[in-house]
């Protein structure tokens, strides 16, 4: 079971590096039709337990051309996502298919999620481009050690 050790602080939270790719089904389709596969994008991400679905900044989508299949609600106070008053201040956002991996320093130890549905939120203003939420953490054990300023993610 790989262990990913992370530094944390109160101000910036729990940060890690994540690789965003096209999802596996798209990858297989592109290969079968001999089309170019978009290069993965490595981004700075925050690990968070406050929401159900992981999300990425729209700029990441533009860099990798992810398939778009749905829209959803997003409650993201502090971002500049346009809110809909009739939805109680939440916003509508686009939802994409993707693959992602939490990058581990050791070879072959990344946490790979070949198929995941990601929402878009304007995150760049916070110095991150992705937030990893409970949908990914559902397969992990997270130990958050505030006094030592460290956390461990086991998967």
């Amino acid at each position: 079971m790989p262990l990913l050790n992370l530094a944390l602080d109160v101000r910036s939270g729990l940060r890690t590096r994540v690789r965003i790719t096209v999802n596996r089904a798209t990858l297989l389709k592109l290969r079968a039709t001999r089309q170019a596969v978009p290069q993965p994008v490595i981004v700075d991400a925050m690990i968070d337990t406050g929401a159900e679905r992981s999300c990425i900044d729209p700029a990441v989508v533009r860099r990798i051309a992810l398939p778009l299949h749905a829209f959803g609600f997003a409650s993201a106070p502090g971002t500049n996502a346009p809110v809909i008053p009739a939805l109680g201040g939440t916003a509508v956002n686009a939802i994409y298919q993707a693959g992602l991996a939490l990058i581990h320093p050791a070879p072959h130890s990344d946490l790979v999620v070949p198929e995941i549905v990601l929402e878009t939120l304007p995150l760049a203003q916070f110095g991150i481009e992705a937030v990893i939420e409970r949908d990914v953490l559902a397969s992990c054990v997270l130990v958050y050690n505030g006094p030592t300023g460290s956390a461990t993610l086991a998967y």
Partner: protein, 96 residues
């Protein structure tokens, strides 16, 4: 001509504008049939059924839609509350 989307919808959803209009057109019926919480697969003006999970809906969409451009959208009454007036046609006024 590509249909328009209401204010507040991200511009990146524009390629699925036709499908979104279809979704809102059938949303009242799907809700009446007890489909809330399931996921509808929509291409153009057609609905290709509903599925328990978004993953299943997306997989089915890829099997049925050759160009891979489709909507796999959760059936949610809150969307009707927020945007129903934009998508639903006004009731025709009858005259005797």
């Amino acid at each position: 001509m590509t249909p328009t989307l209401p204010p507040g919808f991200p511009t990146e959803l524009a390629p699925l504008a036709t499908e979104i209009h279809t979704y809102f057109r059938v949303l009242p019926q799907l809700l009446a049939e007890g489909e809330e919480g399931r996921f509808a697969v929509v291409k153009g003006a057609e609905v290709f059924g509903t599925w328990d999970t978004q993953k299943d809906a997306i997989q089915y969409g890829h099997e049925r839609v050759p160009d891979g451009q489709f909507l796999a959208q959760e059936i949610d009454a809150r969307f009707l509350t927020a945007f129903g007036a934009f998508f639903q046609p006004p009731a025709a006024s009858g005259t005797a």
